[in-house]
């Protein structure tokens, strides 16, 4: 029963011609997906390898490009005691890798109303009191696949330096890898998110021009021109378009 036909087509390459400098033999690597051994292309990403091995991912893939944090993965290498962390969609496999994806990270999110918060340290104390239990072990920073200074933004939250929380956590994907390594049970990415929202709402300087423009729209300043454009013949609209100047 061949179902889901359209989607099952494997993406084909756009250029047909044989590559100029290609050695046709694919080099393979052995990886252990949740303990089971599989031969996969040596240049595959972890996500590519899981799919190559025949798994249909349900949990563990979102954007597939390093933005959503759905694909947190932990792995070990042979003869190495360390546990490594990475994103399945952007980390390449290595021979001997023993890996497992994390389908979800247990982390409840406290509920708050951003309109009723103050942009200061007391807000962190109230919503995320565990932040102040940080023992500065730096495990979170070491685990972060985005190479963020996670411990530093947690420390910034402890000082109430909201701008630094915003700046240092800006590229956070909420993948959760920091949180599962934290001995103080802090959910760093939620702290970062709160910091960014507080900054955007309360501390970022206001744009006067934006206020002015919104007022103009409310006063229907552009009504007349909109109506003119709407009733204009296509040819005339085209002329307006091609004749317009560019900044």
């Amino acid at each position: 029963m061949a179902t889901q036909k359209t989607a099952k087509k494997k993406p084909v390459k756009q250029a047909k011609s044989k590559s100029p400098k290609n050695d046709t033999k694919k080099t393979m690597a052995t990886v252990f997906i949740m303990g089971k051994s599989h031969e996969v292309p040596a240049d595959a990403t972890i996500m590519g390898a899981i799919e190559y091995a025949g798994y249909q991912i349900i949990r563990g893939a979102g954007c597939r490009e390093g933005f959503c944090g759905a694909c947190a993965t932990v792995y070990r290498m042979p003869g190495d005691y360390k546990i490594y962390t990475g994103l399945a969609c952007t980390t390449l496999v290595e021979d001997g890798m023993w890996l497992s994806q994390l389908p979800a990270i247990p982390a409840q999110k406290p509920v708050y109303d951003i309109d009723k918060l103050d942009p200061n340290v007391a807000t962190f104390q109230k919503i995320y009191p565990e932040v102040f239990r940080c023992v500065s072990c730096n495990s979170c920073t070491k685990a972060c696949p985005q190479d963020l200074e996670v411990m530093d933004y947690i420390n910034a939250a402890m000082r109430g330096d909201i701008e630094a929380v915003m700046d240092l956590s800006f590229d956070c994907l909420s993948c959760g890898l920091c949180a599962i390594r934290c001995p103080s049970e802090i959910v760093q990415y939620n702290v970062g998110l709160l910091g960014r929202r507080l900054y955007g709402k309360y501390l970022s300087k206001e744009s006067k021009q934006l206020k002015k423009r919104i007022k103009e729209v409310k006063e229907r300043k552009f009504d007349k021109e909109y109506k003119e454009f709407k009733t204009m013949k296509k040819e005339e609209l085209k002329k307006n378009y091609y004749d317009r100047d560019t900044e």
């Binding site: 087509k9 590559s19 025949g54 929202r197 909109y226 709407k230 091609y242």
Partner: protein, 555 residues
């Protein structure tokens, strides 16, 4: 790291850089922009949509006999996943005011506005909340805020970019709501890029005549999406999120009003019914259908589900003959093939170059024109660069940006992009990227008016799943704006609508009727939709999966 054989070409790029820098500084266009005839010619000859096999006639349903994208026609001419007789519709499993299908940007914006108007909602979403195209936009959002700009100018740019096929009322809503959306998002806590004095930083995008691209470094989508999600999650009393629980069909009532949908739990494989007074489709695009075999920039769940559900229920589609290929998808290294390289790179001065290091097109033509010009340069003029796996591409000169905008600019403004490449030993502050068009955006979709209403009462649609606002070609930055503008509108107008609507007996007769239509048209297909998830299982593995009906999430 680029292979050795690409070195000579990369050196040519470096050699021409100073000259091109001077050209850029002169303030004149670095390459003459195309006029209307030139645009038409390159589109006709090289845009993938214009190839004969790209479109075919659809044989059933509301758009019967129209020519639409072949893969979409295949998807629409298919069987449902469910058998209506298995459902007892007198006892719905869930009841709510508004069912929102899709937890991306449009879905969350709708839920927030509906909540503020007092309506309760359920967001059904296929993956996790926010696992969506909305999470991925890097470039930014257009909105006419600056003094030298105006919403009407934005309107003109959008109409021209869409080849004047756009529905005027939708473009007006899009452009006129723009400034308000910037403010709304900031009040929710979005951190916009700003200048010292608090004014918003704006850049050019393809086809814009004023700088109006607002951004949050190159994590624009991630910042906006996470802010919206956080807001949604702060109101569990009003908004219920059901993750890994996609909707697979709509429910109608005996009066033909839309009245909810059928949920499918991807993990336990159970089906549930949701009765709602109004339903909002916000399922996004279809990049994962890999139209014309192209790689895609889209997230894992972008399989066009909303289109087929709505079509079976009788909703009309608009401009389903047009597909957007983003000019700059990455082609090297292989692991990131198809990944998006934001248009902001060209907005900041990055130039596309052929293998001789020469400019061959104005860097900021509308997307379809720019893409076609890249394809022409590779296929007709043979001026592309071939990768070890046989892909073709042109250079996108990023080091030039550091010369134009100052050293350190890339690291500050494009951290995601820098990170993406440095993993593979390519430092984009020093070396160009290799790019080729990638399947990016569903230009058409379910037809709506400026209240997000469809031809089915009670069915609203917002975001990428809709058709009309962008004509046959969307301009960069207009879809982040789109999902906010129309997501909000859908939330508002659906909340108004539910105050007076009465839902009568629920039915799935439209599913049975559609299947009859398939039979009558003598269409033989074993395709079952919505697709839900693409499969990347290799052919040989699939052959060994003998109980193929057990594969994936389909049983």
């Amino acid at each position: 790291m680029y292979p050795e054989y690409m070195r000579p070409s990369l050196e040519k790029v470096a050699q021409t850089r100073n000259k091109r820098f001077e050209l850029e500084k002169s303030g004149k266009p670095v390459f003459p922009p195309m006029n209307a005839e030139e645009r038409e010619e390159v589109l006709n000859k090289f845009h993938p949509d214009y190839k004969p096999a790209a479109r075919r006639k659809i044989r059933i349903g509301p758009n019967k006999d129209e020519h639409i994208t072949t893969e979409v026609a295949d998807m629409l001419e298919s069987h449902s996943r469910i058998k209506p007789e298995f459902f007892d519709l007198t006892k719905p499993d869930y009841e709510t005011d508004i069912l929102i299908i899709g937890g991306g940007g449009a879905g969350c914006a709708a839920a927030i506005l509906a909540m503020q108007k007092g309506a309760k909602s359920i967001i059904s979403t296929k993956l996790r909340l926010g696992d969506a195209n909305s999470m991925m936009s890097q470039g930014g959002m257009q909105a006419a805020v600056t003094a030298q700009d105006s919403p009407t100018r934005h309107y003109l740019d959008a109409m021209g970019g869409g080849h004047f096929d756009n529905k005027p009322d939708l473009v007006r809503a899009l452009t006129e709501d723009g400034p308000e959306v910037v403010k709304w998002l900031e009040d929710l806590g979005v951190v916009w890029d700003k200048l010292e004095d608090g004014s918003l930083q704006v850049l050019h995008g393809g086809g814009t005549s004023r700088k109006r691209m607002h951004s949050c470094r190159d994590y624009t989508g991630a910042i906006i999406m996470r802010t919206l999600m956080d807001k949604v999650r702060n109101h569990p009393d009003k908004i219920t999120c059901l993750e890994f629980m996609p909707i697979v069909e709509l429910l109608l009532d005996s009066k033909g009003q839309c009245a909810g949908g059928v949920l499918y739990n991807l993990e336990t494989e159970e089906y549930f019914t949701v009765k709602a007074k109004a339903t909002i489709i916000a399922t996004g695009g279809y990049g994962r259908l890999h139209i014309r075999g192209f790689d895609t920039t889209n997230h894992y769940g972008a399989t066009g589900d909303g289109l087929v559900m709505a079509y079976r229920a009788g909703a009309k589609l608009l401009y389903m003959d047009s597909v957007q290929y983003h000019p700059t998808g990455s082609v090297f290294p292989e692991q990131i093939a198809g990944f998006l390289i934001t248009e902001k790179i060209r907005g900041a001065g990055g130039q596309p170059l052929n293998k001789h290091g020469e400019l061959f097109v104005f860097p900021r033509e509308p997307r379809d024109v720019e893409s076609s010009a890249f394809i022409r340069e590779c296929l007709e003029k043979n001026n592309g660069i071939e990768t070890p796996s046989g892909r073709l591409g042109v250079w996108l000169d990023s080091p030039l940006i550091e010369m134009i905008q100052g050293e350190g600019y890339i690291n500050k403004q494009f951290p995601a992009m820098h990170r993406q490449f440095i993993r593979y030993g390519i430092d984009i502050t020093k070396e160009s990227m290799l790019v080729y068009p990638s399947l990016h955006y569903q230009n058409g979709g379910i037809e709506i008016n400026d209240k997000c209403e469809t031809n089915i009462p009670g069915l609203y649609v917002a975001g990428e799943a809709t058709g009309g606002a962008h004509g046959r070609n969307r301009l960069m930055g207009n879809s982040v704006l789109d999902y906010n503008v129309f997501g909000r509108r859908a939330g508002i107008f659906a909340s108004d609508y539910i105050k007076s609507v009465k839902i009568s007996a629920l039915t799935l007769n439209h599913i049975t009727d559609y299947d009859d239509e398939l039979k009558k048209a003598k269409i033989k297909t074993d395709l079952i939709t919505p697709v839900l998830l693409p499969s990347y299982t290799p052919e040989d593995v699939r052959k060994r999966q003998l109980t193929a009906c057990y594969e994936g999430t389909l049983r």
